[in-house]
């Protein structure tokens, strides 16, 4: 359609002066930031600092008050017909803290349903792709299991596969491992590492600092609705510039 052909050099996600309030409470106070193509950004910050709100504005699950957000060359928050927004959303993968798998569908149906219903992919192609994705997240044997029969880690891996099925050029994660028992965190993170290695552009809210160190190209530290620091992980972890970040990191280590 009328998508501007994005050049290799334009950022994948570009936030300009993004502000958002709930009533009188300002959650986002002018966010300016970019995520380059293929870049992995980890977002961290204290509870209530606006991390979820920020990541949810990128696929417009939340509206913004002012500013603009573009993703893959498309202005996400411009006025547009609902259909166009649906099409743009389908090109932004989103993984929730609480998985939100569809409990009435088996794992493979969860993955294949949206390509069929939203993109009009043929059933055969959708199920072939879903089978591939299940293999990629290591759950080939769980294709016909229902979400209620899967562990949290398995559910989150299916949720990642479901998002990937739409073939989005960018993936957003909002604390994908926070709802998991500790022994299941690793299996989800390793799927995410694989994605990053394949060159996926990722924006990921997480407090898994090991993941940030290994995988992230940059860490954004958010506090009170502002990006206070943005630095490569080794720099951020060893030499945080602000006292707020220092305090956050020392609390995290305890």
């Amino acid at each position: 359609m009328n998508t501007i052909a994005p050049s290799k050099n334009t950022p994948m996600i570009e936030l300009k002066g993004v502000c958002k309030s709930y009533g009188l409470y300002e959650v986002l106070k002018g966010i300016d930031a970019e995520v380059a193509r293929g870049e992995v950004v980890v977002i961290c910050g204290p509870s209530g600092s606006g991390k979820s709100t920020l990541i949810r504005t990128v696929n417009r699950l939340e509206e913004i008050g002012s500013g603009s957000i573009s993703c893959d060359g498309n202005n996400i928050h411009r006025p547009m017909p609902a259909q166009e927004l649906n099409r743009l959303r389908s090109r932004i993968g989103f993984v929730f803290q609480s998985f939100n798998l569809f409990p009435h569908l088996s794992a493979i149906d969860n993955i294949a349903m949206s390509p069929i219903r939203v993109k009009g992919v043929s059933r055969d192609a959708a199920y072939a792709k879903a089978t591939q994705l299940l293999e990629r997240v290591g759950l080939t044997d769980k294709a016909n299991a229902y979400p209620g029969q899967l562990s949290g880690g398995q559910q989150q891996r299916v949720a990642i596969a479901r998002a990937l099925a739409m073939e989005p050029p960018v993936m957003l994660f909002d604390e994908p491992t926070s709802a998991l028992d500790p022994e299941m965190v690793g299996e989800v993170l390793s799927v995410m590492k694989g994605l990053a290695a394949d060159g996926m552009t990722m924006m990921c809210v997480t407090h898994e600092m090991g993941f940030a160190r290994d995988v992230a190209d940059r860490v954004w530290f958010i506090d009170q609705g502002q990006i206070v620091e943005s630095a490569p992980p080794e720099e951020f972890f060893s030499r945080p510039q602000t006292t707020r970040a220092q305090r956050f990191l020392s609390e995290l280590r305890h």
Binding site: N86, P103, H104, S114, V118
Partner: protein, 252 residues
Amino acid sequence: MISDIIVIIRDYWLLLLIGQYPNGPLGGLAATLILSILAIAFAFPVSIALALARLSKSPFLNWPVTALVYFTRGVPLLMLILWGYFLVPLATGANVPSFLTMLVTLVVYQGAFLSEVVRGGIVALGHGQMEAARALGHSYLGAMRYVILPQALYNVIPSIISVFVSTIKDTTLGYVINVPDLTFAASQINNQLLTQPFQVFFILAAVYYVICWSLTRVAVATESRITRKRAGMVPLPTAKSLKLAALTDQPS
């Protein structure tokens, strides 16, 4: 007493079954079943439409439907039937058959009740499912159709069945506007016999009981299915196996 009942059934079974047909309109049990099935078949989709309208943010959809639901829930069904019977011909000048009046009234009334059940089922699901579907690019109605309603309706099956049962019971009220249903046939028989009202209306009660009881059995069976599913014991049955259960569910 039992023998009286058997005699009544022997003498009047055809009237009870199909009314005056073919010399008059189709009536009796056939009319009751047709009225019930049509009322349920129309009330169900109507209730989904009403529920979606009440959940809509648009005041043009939300307000009138909310008013309609409050109104119908606050007014006795019999009043609605009488209004429809006397006022619609006055207002339109058309001669509306009483069967149609009864059907439309039942659909509106039970549709309004059922819409609250459906809305409750949707609201109880929470935001997560809708957000997940929208994030994948589904439209609002697409998300409703493929994600929300299959779960919400499934979860409220027992309440849906209750409304269906009361729809069947409420078809008896058609009697007051001369809908030739089973109740009407029974009262015709009673008027002829004059001396055996207990026996006649016992037959009537027994037939309604059997119909409603079978439906209630379905409700109980599906309810236990939901419980088992929630415990993660069995995968969700498909619509097909559900229908099958309704047909094969034997009274214990």
